[in-house]
Symmetry: C2
DNA sequence: ATACATATAATGTTGAAACATGTATTTGTT
DNA sequence: AACAAATACATGTTTCAACATTATATGTAT
């Protein structure tokens, strides 16, 4: 279905408006589908995002602020996200020796194991975006980059 | 900046993964920017979404369930959104005569006036996506449509 | 006509997001 | 050395989202 039928709106004031609505709609759609995968593993998509960042650094620790920098949602409360992950023993946290304001976070073996179970599910989902070619996916990525750049320097 | 530098991730397992992350990241980015416009008018982006749907029907009423169908976020609690809009006198609500389970919602003059003030701000923002051409915006829209379609029939 | 399923919306509850504030530590300046 | 400013994180509070449940009305089959 086109965005027109999905949100039952026939006319848009510009290609930009239609694209903007389509982008937000499609992002919600992606996140909702992925949430159903994450739910079986009792984590949220934000927590998954943090775990992936931590795995990217493993076995090195990473500071809370650096995690926040890398997150998709720049406005999330990283402290509390890590609290939740700590409760589930998926991460460890300790004061950073070089800078005692900072806190080093590291993924546990348990966290790595969870990702290892979860990854095939997520990858299966990703690889099933068969409606578009890899080249088209790259095209979307580069257009989105251009889109954001055009407005960064306002 | 590219998504690589924005989320500081150098490698992706596939063009699809990179596109998915880019899509969610860009949607968050759009919504955050627009939120700053809405904030001056004391509404949320979800409430704005509802108001626009209601204006699209004006002067006809529309049922709560039909509003939910047209929203960008299909999982929002439309009843409570309308409660909030009612408090601000931006909408009216009355039982539907044909079906007493249903509730007819209609935008008020005050609601229309708010949108009239708000529209130029949103349009100014939309029209400033100068990094991409209208043709490219259309291209993104059609690729996103294709993307969602490929997975609707799983 | 009755029973049962479905549709529609509101509500209750729990947990998370949003936003501001607080506290400790570090860095920079004079 | 003393002070101001910046940084890093945690916490408090209020609002909102997510999910399940309830209440009422409508449709359908017997």
């Amino acid at each position: 279905m086109s965005i027109e039928t999905d949100i039952k709106q026939k006319k848009f004031r510009s290609p930009y408006q239609r694209m903007g609505l389509n982008l937000v709609y499609t992002s919600n759609w992606i996140q909702y589908q992925q949430m159903e995968i994450f739910r079986e593993f009792d984590i949220t998509s934000q927590q998954y995002n943090v775990l992936r960042i931590l795995r990217g650094q493993h076995p090195n620790p990473i500071k809370v602020s650096d995690i926040a920098d890398r997150m998709l949602d720049k406005n999330s409360n990283t402290s509390r996200l890590i609290d939740k992950l700590l409760l589930k023993k998926l991460v460890d946290r300790k004061s950073c020796p070089n800078d005692r304001r900072a806190v080093d976070v590291i993924i546990t073996e348990e966290g790595l194991a969870l990702l290892k179970d979860l990854d095939p599910e997520v990858e299966k989902w990703e690889d099933n975006m068969v409606g578009i070619t890899p080249e088209e996916a790259d095209l979307i990525s580069s257009l989105l980059d251009k889109l954001r750049n055009s407005k960064n320097n306002n």
